[in-house]
Symmetry: C2
Subunit: 257 residues, 2 copies
């Protein structure tokens, strides 16, 4: 494997958290695999930074100094990183292709993708719900999904770190790769004729949930085989995307499966 | 019926919206029964206020002027009302006792209460989910539930106006009234032995969901017969309350209750 491929694989399994409070909280959580602490050389000592350095030393986390500009490239958010970033290894993050290969032998697999969901707290809540309901993988795109920052982590109530994130370039690329790997692509759409709770579903499914305003994008729509709907009482036109994610994730249990 | 009782009954069926943008949006929605527009006499004309007055005139909505202080008593939020409030008749709001009486003849009834849920957007989202999933009534307390203001309306995506809100003093009083009316009170609690999706449930049920940090209060806990849990995958300790509300609403609906 090329050095580039190996670096890319490494990067795909790492979540870089930034900001003093989030970094401190992560270092204080013994369940997280903290790999490397990045600090801006311009940082002034304060009680939180001292505590961060103490915890990193206690845990044996490697610490590196950077220029302010280099740190901003690592955190990808120079305006909010407060000169601190932390690489956390997330054991269930994977490049989509490798994730699909690892899942190939299973007889039934349920994946979830969010298409055009721009609110990071909703994305985080959807991840939390999907994890709770035993979704096997959550497609997460570099372009088209909210950056994996503090608001997604907060929305996920910290469950993001352990989530099976299958990382891809765009949602459409990811959905196409799933289809090529034998998955049936279902979109969720209000008013679609097939009922999520009663329609027969393929054993390998990708459920795509659209954004609150624009729904599923045409590029992803073109890859879908069927549209499913959640039946709703009169007077209600749609559901929050994180709520829909929960119903999709728990649909098997709600069906009595 | 006494004049007091009649006033109270009237008040229980009315939602008072405040702030210029929310009032404008409500007046522009032909589906809403706008009853009375309240304005502070100190208001200066601006384009939004002009539009509000035009819409009220077009729709034949009675308009009343008040002192700034009197308007603050009507809106119950003088800091954010911007001198404008609008009474909207919500056809499915009721005093709890009357609501229970109206539901008494049904063979199966499913009610929902939120106990200690302080985030108004979560409360609104839970109302939206409960309505979508055909919950027959949502207990809503004057003390213990977030004020029915703009954030609840926003969280509910406007579904609050048509929601079957059963209004009571406190959640514990409401739960006690339900129990006295023959309802079985179930709390939702992580790790409870009974599974929401498979446990046999009484035909008349009140599901109580606790707040995100403290769960169900001891006073309500004491009224409950059983605790139900949503099964969750390892590594996830809880679900967002609006997500739990959706699973409760749809679990009941899908059981054919």
């Amino acid at each position: 494997m090329s050095d580039y491929g190996s670096k890319r694989r490494h990067y795909r399994g790492v979540l870089t958290v930034y900001g003093r409070k989030p970094v401190l909280e992560a270092l204080a959580d013994p369940g997280l695999a903290c790999e490397r602490l990045h600090l801006a050389s311009s940082n002034r000592r304060d009680p939180i930074l001292t505590r961060i350095l103490d915890l990193a030393a206690e845990r044996g986390v490697e610490t590196r100094g950077h220029s302010r500009e280099a740190l901003a490239r690592i955190s990808r958010n120079g305006r909010q990183d407060q000169g601190v970033a932390l690489d956390i290894r997330c054991p269930h993050f994977a490049e989509l292709g490798e994730g699909l290969a690892a899942l190939a032998a299973r007889p039934a697999t349920r994946l979830l993708a969010l298409d055009g969901v721009t609110n990071p707290q909703n994305a985080g809540m959807a991840i939390r719900s999907a994890r709770a309901g035993d979704i096997d993988g959550i497609l997460y795109a570099d372009r088209g999904n909210p950056a994996l920052g503090p608001l997604v982590i907060k929305g996920s109530a910290g469950t993001l770190y352990g989530a099976p994130l299958l990382r891809c370039g765009t949602v459409a690329e990811g959905a196409a790769a799933c289809r090529d790997a034998g998955y049936t692509v279902y979109t969720l759409a209000a008013g679609a004729p097939l009922n999520l709770f009663t329609a027969p579903l393929a054993p390998k499914t990708l459920f795509v949930l659209g954004g609150e305003s624009d729904g599923v994008s045409p590029a992803v729509q073109a890859l879908a085989t069927e549209a499913l709907s959640v039946p709703m009482a009169e007077g209600v036109e749609s559901l929050n995307v994180a709520v829909t994610a929960a119903l999709v994730a728990y649909a098997a249990k709600l069906r009595g499966g």
